[in-house]
């Protein structure tokens, strides 16, 4: 049997307020196979965003192991994690996080600056990513000239432009109206089906979760 793309083994995470320990995740274990589209759901404070942060390597667990694409990221230094993220992770957040002074093209080009690519290669990749998300005609637009749904599509283009191993989305439709949210979910679903992208998405929205292959619920830091 093929090894899962993501292996979460006994992962726990606690935060500290002064000397008070606040456990957020307790002994979580599960696998995510390659090509999966997983929705993480649960009430506020259940630890789903924390779990996503741990899988993406932007935070580190207090205990346990996290093996992603064959590498145990729980044991990596900050520098190693930064390099690893640039190669394996595409992130999409609720508020898009686009740089307002850059055009859609430049925002999508940003992660490619960490690669040794020629300008022509970068252009080709950016154009491909923006065409996939349906914004091939909006490349020179600044974020302020785009709708919320279009901004999120630019953010998705930016997340996929490096062809990451794993696409992670935290409430990607949380700031969008119903129509735009539907478009974003359709796009994510297409990325999963047509391009075989493994996607982990945190959401509150049951309609968004319907597009996923599987749903895992978290409650009080444990898998329900």
């Amino acid at each position: 049997m093929a090894q899962a793309l993501v292996q979460v083994r006994g992962v726990s995470k606690s935060y500290y307020r002064d000397s008070l320990e606040i456990p957020v995740l307790r002994n979580i274990s599960f696998d995510i196979p390659e090509g999966e589209f997983l929705a993480l759901m649960g009430p506020s404070g259940s630890g789903k965003t924390t779990l996503l942060n741990l899988i993406s390597g932007i935070d580190q667990p207090s205990g346990g192991d996290l093996v992603v694409a064959g590498e145990n990221i729980a044991r990596m230094s900050e520098g190693q994690l930064a390099k690893w993220r640039s190669q394996h992770i595409g992130l999409v957040f609720q508020f898009y996080n686009l740089l307002p002074v850059l055009t859609a093209f430049e925002n999508v080009e940003l992660p490619l600056l960490l690669y040794k690519l020629s300008k022509a290669d970068r252009r080709k990749r950016v154009e491909t990513a923006l065409t996939i998300v349906g914004l091939g005609d909006r490349m020179d637009h600044y974020p302020r000239q785009l709708s919320g749904g279009q901004e999120q599509r630019v953010a998705i283009a930016r997340a996929i432009v490096t062809d990451p191993t794993l696409l992670l989305a935290d409430e990607p439709t949380g700031d969008l109206d119903k129509v735009s949210a539907e478009e974003i979910m359709t796009l994510l679903s297409r990325l999963n089906k047509e391009f075989n992208k493994t996607i982990v998405m945190v959401t509150h929205d049951p309609r968004a979760a319907e597009k996923a292959h599987s749903i895992r619920n978290l409650d009080k830091g444990e898998l329900a």
Binding site: I58, S86, F93, N97, L99, V101, E106
Partner: protein, 384 residues
């Protein structure tokens, strides 16, 4: 692309950046202006020749020495030439029209002080007319004098109305040479004093000594002063630089105060930029966090934040220099009586540019450290 991002970020909050840049420019202009004034004060020192000594009364420059010392000084080993001069101290029309007036030995003075460019024809005219005067180009421009004009000064140290004939206009051999000085014949004063105040005849203000070997300055100075020790007019001989420096030292406290002020201004510039960069970095916390989440590392953020601070500080610095150049140009004519060499020194240009970069580095240090230490998850929680 990252350079583009730095540039665009620098002008993201146009009003704030413009106000910061204008603040920096005004402060840089003030810093440069103070430095230019201090440099102007030292211009005489900078222009001093290394192969010249000045011999004056050991009591004070206001006390005179006998003309008879000239022959005795000439006999001392190591001296190539000797000349002498006096301060005249007259006024032209109005006491506010101040300029330096020296009564100098005909023929010899301009051989010992060759930095004043005078044609042989003018020199002949000067030597043949006891009322002759040679004025600097700036002084001639200031009062509209031309060769052939008759100019009258009112004597203060040497009373009476003194008529002069302008026989020539000199230029300095380079920009450090004062072109606003008036050179008249020493004999004119002496002949007049012989008639009106015989007790004041045969007196000179100081001697200018040209050395055969500049490295022997200390020995020759000691020999000159030893020659006149225990006489009724003891001498103090020093290098021309030290002599000029003694005038600057009279205003030492003011110069120190001005220098301190100029550096306080740099402190103000720093605080202005620190404030701007701190606000900027705070507003961009989530952006920095997101860039880190993509894989950008501490040194990338260092480059972005510091680059932005340097763009702002350099823009302010260069604008300040442009303002400084304009204001120095405007003030130059008005201040020529007090500061004959009033110009921005190359060191000031270099210092302002270097300081702009250093200030940019310092001002961005705190935001950089904060951004580098920030945990990504904490930064992403910050909503603009």
């Amino acid at each position: 692309m990252l350079m583009n991002l730095i540039y665009r970020n620098s002008f993201r909050h146009k009003l704030r950046t413009i106000l910061t840049v204008v603040g920096l420019a005004v402060a840089v202009m003030a810093f440069g202006l103070i430095r230019t004034v201090v440099d102007a004060w030292h211009a005489g020192v900078e222009a001093a020749a290394p192969d010249r000594l000045i011999t004056r009364s050991s009591i004070s420059i206001t006390f005179t020495l006998p003309l008879s010392y000239k022959e005795q000084i000439e006999k001392i080993d190591g001296i190539k030439a000797v000349t002498y001069a006096n301060w005249f101290g007259g006024t032209y029309v109005d006491a506010s029209n101040f300029f330096a007036q020296f009564a100098v030995e005909k023929g010899n003075y301009f051989k010992v002080f060759p930095e004043f460019i005078i044609s042989p024809e003018v020199m002949d005219a000067f030597n043949s007319n006891i009322k002759a005067v040679i004025v600097g180009q700036k002084l001639a421009d200031r009062f509209g004098w031309k060769v052939g004009d008759r100019v009258t000064l009112i004597g203060t140290i040497f009373p009476g109305n003194w008529d002069f004939d302008v026989v020539g206009i000199y230029k300095g051999k380079d920009q450090t040479i004062d072109e606003s000085t008036w050179f008249m014949r020493w004999e004119y004063i002496d002949e007049t004093m012989k008639e009106q105040m015989p007790g004041r005849a045969g007196e000179v203000g100081w001697y200018g000594l040209q050395l055969a070997d500049p490295s022997k300055a200390a020995e020759v100075s000691a020999a000159v002063d030893a020659r006149f020790k225990n006489s009724s007019a003891e001498t103090l001989t020093e290098t021309e630089k030290a002599f000029q420096m003694s005038f600057v030292a009279m205003s030492g406290a003011i110069l120190v105060l001005l220098t301190v002020m100029s550096w306080l201004i740099i402190g103000v510039i720093l605080m202005v930029l620190v404030n701007t960069m701190a606000m900027t970095a705070r507003e961009r916390t989530s952006e920095y966090a997101f860039m880190k989440s993509m894989g950008f590392q501490g040194y990338h953020l260092w480059g972005m934040i510091t680059g932005e601070a340097i763009v702002i500080s350099l823009t302010g610095g260069l604008l300040g220099l442009a303002l400084l150049a304009a204001i120095v140009n405007v003030l130059k004519a008005g201040l020529s009586a007090w500061f004959p060499v009033f110009k921005i020194q190359p060191l000031t240009w270099i210092l302002v540019v270097a300081l702009a970069i250093i200030i940019g580095l310092i001002a961005s240090a705190f935001p950089v450290i904060k951004a580098m230490r920030m945990r990504i998850v904490d930064g992403l929680r910050v909503v603009d």
